[in-house]
Symmetry: C2
Subunit: 230 residues, 2 copies
Amino acid sequence: MSKETNKPRAVVLVSGGLDSATVLAIAKSEGYDCFALSFDYGQRSISELEAAERVTDLIGVVEHKTVHLGLGEIGGSALTEDCIDVPTGGVQADTIPVTYVPARNTVFLSLALGWAEVLGAQDIFIGVNAVDYSGYPDCRPEFIEQFEKLAAVATKAGVEGNPWHIHTPLIKLSKAEIISRGMGLGVDFAQTISCYDADIKGRACGVCDSCRLRAEGFSAAGISDPTVYI
Amino acid sequence: MSKETNKPRAVVLVSGGLDSATVLAIAKSEGYDCFALSFDYGQRSISELEAAERVTDLIGVVEHKTVHLGLGEIGGSALTEDCIDVPTGGVQADTIPVTYVPARNTVFLSLALGWAEVLGAQDIFIGVNAVDYSGYPDCRPEFIEQFEKLAAVATKAGVEGNPWHIHTPLIKLSKAEIISRGMGLGVDFAQTISCYDADIKGRACGVCDSCRLRAEGFSAAGISDPTVYI
């Protein structure tokens, strides 16, 4: 944990993955007091939440909250349902992957908005990326712009004329560029988990789409992959 | 529970209160197969959830889900925090009441959107009302219009060109008009709970703003108030 200063506050969504760790480091480098928000939503890989704890400790946040959220009760995705296999066949640009959790980023940003309002923060950081996962509708710039407009009418702060900013510093970066950016800010990627199917010790499967994308990213960035595989 | 038919599906947000019971009856009367969604979000009045169960049983839904949601972990409202007194002094038109839960309807609609997407439904019903609670930013028509636009870019169905409809049949009705409408559709209001501070048996306090508004509504509608008070 870091002590709070007089800097502006920001809520940062932190999943425990490589992307959100980089986003948290960026938010800090831009001079925000960071309040990290994670969700326990019945994801198959609980080691993600342990990684979120490590990442927020290492990078330093004023507070880290993990909110319980029954997304699994609604179902519909390989990331929350036991009966859908996680994909290993590669990402196709024109289709929405089965790992898409319906309305997930809408739900996550809504809760971030609620906490930001309580904190008096007007800035939210989220590690969405439109390049590697172009199939997820809620990772696109048009979704983020629309959410900012919603926040303006949905909240007390918005109604009072304070503008909301949803920061998406990774939205146009490739995985290799994200890794380079994070390395430049001193992120220890060995502490992060991207795998859809990590084991109980947090070791990555090495074969799911997320593992493949991550490994290719390290390779393209010319950085040795610190991931611990099964 | 009712059996599913070939009618279009709708997700209906049901809190156990008078308003959402009326909305559910309206959705049914308009020919939808109804899927009711409630939230266990650390509200002080747990008897609301028991009322939601009774109401969905009586009116008849294909399925009723209660999703766990850690809104209380984010805090900031008299409805989820033990240390804020519920107001009894009357609603003022120009201020946002302390019972406002930050971003609550944004969060509720987001989860309804996720479930609707899983169900293949394009219709969501919510009992927001801009007349009696004009102080809540997320009960206004401009908020609902903006959420519809967000849904269009946030979801697989939206991207594929299927329009979303957020139905707010109560948005311009007074409490008396809502009560008359519900009575006309056969809603048993004795089974609903509106009180911010009901006791463990589900009896209403009779003094909080929500109780006062409800009692005035029955009086204005010329209908005897079936509420059980402490």
